[in-house]
């Protein structure tokens, strides 16, 4: 009976995963996948290719990608969802700006390489390690963003084999997120669903 309850709880859980893949011409396509607690897809939303204008490139400078991913694409995708996710996970640090736009908790799932470089509980270390492992390399725009305060102060959260980078939330929110994620994160790789999104986006691009 208890097992059934657990299954029922997991089936009703909704987790959101957002990521974007870059295009050769400088644009992006983004995908938002909602899974239930046993990893089955519930909804999938994807953008058509989004290309920044020249004005956006000039004015946003190093903050362009956070703007596009976190403030434009992700909110547009999340707005289409019929099943609101209890928590939204992202895998690009630039998408963390989403936490300033949506009400749900947003957390960055760190790659194992980045996780290894992070000192547990150290916000500064987590941030630095994340920037340094970002796709643009060390002292890339990420550092500038950090310095100019475009991203919130963050801290790490260890969930099983997964390391999350989360904004400095109140304790209650951290507890809630841990409760939501524990059925998954204790045993499974939270980076895995992002692979599905990327495969789906590539398929969508291939099929036009």
């Amino acid at each position: 009976m208890k097992q059934q309850d657990n299954v029922g709880t997991r089936l009703s859980l909704r987790l959101g995963f957002f990521t974007a893949i870059p295009l050769a011409d400088g644009g992006y396509v983004g995908g938002y996948l909602i899974l239930n607690g046993v990893g089955r897809p519930i909804e999938f939303h994807c953008t058509t290719p989004v290309r920044p204008t020249r004005a956006q490139e000039i004015l946003y400078g190093p903050t362009l990608k956070p703007y596009l991913l976190g403030e434009q694409m992700a909110p547009a995708l999340i707005a289409k969802a019929k099943s609101p996710a209890e928590i939204i996970l992202v895998t690009e640090w630039e998408a963390l700006t989403l936490c300033q736009v949506v009400e749900q908790p947003v957390a960055l799932v760190l790659s194992p390489e980045t996780s290894a470089a992070v000192e547990p509980g150290s916000a500064q270390s987590a941030a630095s390690a994340t920037w340094n492992h970002s796709v643009n390399g060390p002292r890339s725009p990420g550092a500038a963003i950090l310095e100019c305060g475009a991203l919130p102060a963050c801290r790490t959260l260890q969930m099983g084999r997964n390391t999350l980078l989360v904004p400095e939330w109140p304790v209650e929110r951290v507890t809630r997120v841990q409760e939501y994620l524990s059925p998954w994160a204790e045993a499974f790789d939270l980076l895995e669903p992002f692979g599905r999104i990327r495969a789906a986006l590539e398929e969508a691009l291939r099929r036009g």
Partner: protein
């Protein structure tokens, strides 16, 4: 004279860089000593700012200036010439550019799937009437097995049993996932709709599903087996053509199990040769203990009822039954819809339907179904026509008999999955082949040549009356002479076998010797009493066979097992044997493979050495040549290692003696 007064800041921050200098306006020739230094000055701030910017003071230049009577002194009395230059400070009017970054226009495409374990069918509607009970199916407490009266009315159904296996080792599966070795379900090329393709792409890896559900398995599936399951799962038409021994049965059952449990199918029919029915039932018990299975058998009325029963998820029927029961499963209801239909029909040993005009093939194709899978290790036995025949069931018209092998290979690539042991069982000890080319003894040659000459002459005399049976008789006679000379008992193969056995007797190893004739086996046994031979062939009663195997395995005195090809059936595991001798060759190398794989399979203790006896310049060599050509054809189509599974056709048997097959010749 002209000289300068230098000013310096009172604060010393910029003392080394005088901020400005001023020219003395005195126009009389005075020495520096005579000049009065001006009072300190304060630079005033621009209008609107109250605080002074800085204060400067003059300082003395301490050097002397002498005047000489040169006539120039008068010139010093003249006033200084002052030139002015006008500077235009105001520039052109500024232009203001407005840059509006604006919000990017973002179009979103949305796809919605059924939730939970009630995974949607690719058509977007659940195939399972019980789809709403997805979580209940997950726990194994609902579904067709619990339908009212289900078990009580179906005595031939395997009852769902409490788990007897071990839970799938979730840790092993998750480690595979973490290592990036997960198996995803990729949509086949014939799925066109993007929504359907994404449906499969967005499913979790199989390892994830299995670990989540904690399914019971006898053992954790091998990665290549999960690859096979991931291949079958999304396909509406598929051939799993793995080499024998890799677990096609397990892969098919697991794929069926997952499809049933997630509601994509609810009625499955499995068709297999009659002798394999009980094996399939046993395998379902092993690999999917919670799935009820019914075997269609018994009197016609009973079978009709079994065909029409809709509450059983898996039914098993044998090929021989299908032509007889065709009227049962093709019957229509009042609305013209078939009374019997299946979501999935699986054909085991699907080469049985290679003959498109055969009654079995036609009966199979008449079954109403949504998905069609074929399991076979020999998708091509004789020619490309075999494959065309199988595809008539899978996807009618997809292949045509006139397609060239290479084009055939590329066309079917997405529908066929074939792996060999060499490719996937890297831990399996090697299988080493030794082709022992034997020259017949002079006595054997004499008998052989005479028999062949007489036999061919007799066949020629038959003219139009000749049948394949006549040719077969001659082939068999010649092959038997290659084993033992019926006149003198001479046998070159026996001499070689005795020499080989002496060698391996020293090592304490055991051997299996295969022949297609019981008489040959008995003759070998008579000549090798020192090895305490045991027999395993068609004349050994089934109830004694298990005891034979037990004695051979456990009693070190029994060193050899004499076995017929036909008796080496499924489920016979002899992994403790390291040597296999093929005393004579079977028509179809698939049967030889089956024999060899009794010893060479998962769990084998060491390398298996297979010695194939071949009498040179005889019928055996001619048969072998034809089979080699067929292996090459198979390679062209499947681009894999030679499967050695290509039987002789009627025409080829005639060609062994340079005879032409008559149109009326009966099939072998």
């Amino acid at each position: 004279m002209l000289f300068r007064i230098l000013w310096r800041r009172r604060s010393n921050s910029h003392a080394e860089h005088p901020p400005f200098e001023a020219t003395n306006e005195e126009n009389s020739p005075k020495t520096m000593a005579e000049c009065e230094l001006p009072t300190p000055r304060t630079l005033t701030a621009p209008a609107g700012q109250s605080a002074p910017l800085d204060t400067y003071e003059p300082f003395t230049l301490s050097f002397r200036i002498d005047s000489y009577v040169t006539g120039w002194n008068r010139g010093l009395e003249r006033g200084l010439a002052v030139e002015t230059q006008k500077w235009e400070l105001a520039g052109p009017a500024f232009r203001v550019l407005a840059l509006n970054p604006g919000a990017s226009k973002i179009e979103v495409k949305s796809f919605f799937f059924f939730s939970g374990d009630d995974v949607p069918s690719s058509e977007g509607t659940p195939a399972n009437d019980n789809a709403a009970s997805g979580p209940a199916i997950e726990s194994g407490t609902a579904g067709p097995a619990n339908a009212p009266g289900f078990a009580t009315h179906c005595p031939t159904i395997n009852r769902p049993r409490a788990g007897h296996g071990v839970r799938c080792d979730a840790a092993v599966l998750l480690e595979r996932l973490a290592a990036g070795a997960g198996h995803r379900i990729h949509p086949p090329e014939d799925i066109i709709k993007l929504e359907d393709r994404l449906h499969y792409l967005l499913q979790p890896p199989l390892e994830f599903i299995l670990a989540q559900r904690q399914l019971e398995f006898p053992h954790t599936p091998f990665p290549y087996q999960l690859e096979g399951v991931a291949f079958l799962f999304p396909r509406h038409a598929a051939i799993l053509a793995d080499e024998m021994g890799l677990g096609k049965t397990m892969q098919a059952i697991t794929a069926i199990r997952l499809l049933l449990r997630c509601g994509e199918v609810r009625r499955v029919l499995l068709v297999c040769p009659k002798p394999l029915v009980s094996n399939w039932r046993r395998e379902f018990e092993l690999w999917a203990p919670e799935i009820p299975v019914m075997v269609i058998e018994g009197e016609p009325q009973r079978r009709r009822w079994q065909w029409e029963l809709t509450t059983v998820p898996v039914k098993i029927a044998n090929y021989e039954l299908l032509p007889r029961d065709q009227e049962f499963f093709t019957a229509k209801d009042e609305s013209g819809e078939p009374k019997v239909s299946f979501d999935l029909v699986v054909l085991d040993e699907s080469q049985r339907i290679k003959n498109r005009s055969g009654a079995t093939s036609q009966a199979v194709r008449a079954i109403s179904r949504k998905r069609s899978w074929a399991l076979t290790g020999t998708p091509v036995e004789n020619s490309t026509d075999d494959l065309v025949g199988i595809f008539e069931f899978l996807s009618p018209g997809f292949l045509t008999p006139d397609m060239k092998p290479h084009r055939l290979g590329t066309t079917i690539a997405d529908f066929v999955l074939r792996r060999t042991k060499d490719q996937v069982l890297t831990d399996l000890p090697p299988k080493l082949f030794r082709d022992a080319e034997i020259e017949l003894t002079p006595e054997q040659w004499k008998t052989y040549e005479m028999a062949e000459k007489e036999g061919v002459l007799r066949l020629s005399e038959l003219g139009a009356e000749i049948t394949i049976q006549h040719v077969f008789e001659l082939v068999i006679r010649l092959k038997q002479i290659c084993n033992f000379d019926p006149v003198t008992g001479a046998s070159a193969k026996m001499e070689r076998l005795e020499a080989d056995l002496e060698e391996l007797a020293d090592s304490g190893r055991k051997a299996i010797i295969f022949s297609q004739w019981v008489a040959t086996l008995e003759e070998i046994g008579r000549r090798l009493p020192q090895y305490r031979p045991l027999y395993f062939h068609g004349r050994i009663p089934p109830q004694h066979r298990e005891e034979v195997i037990r004695r051979f395995r456990e009693d070190p005195q029994h060193r050899i097992l004499l076995m017929s090809y036909g008796a080496g059936s499924v489920g016979l595991n002899l992994q403790f044997v390291n040597y296999v001798f093929l005393f004579d060759r079977w028509w179809n190398p698939a049967v030889e493979d089956q024999a060899i794989n009794r010893a060479h399979r998962i769990g084998a203790a060491g390398p298996v050495i297979v010695t194939r006896f071949l009498a040179v310049d005889t019928i055996e060599q001619r048969i072998n040549t034809i089979l080699e050509q067929k292996r090459a054809l198979f390679e062209t189509i499947f681009s894999a290692t030679a499967p050695k599974r290509l039987a002789l056709t009627q025409e080829e048997i005639f060609s062994l003696f340079n005879l032409q097959a008559p149109q009326t010749a009966k099939a072998a």
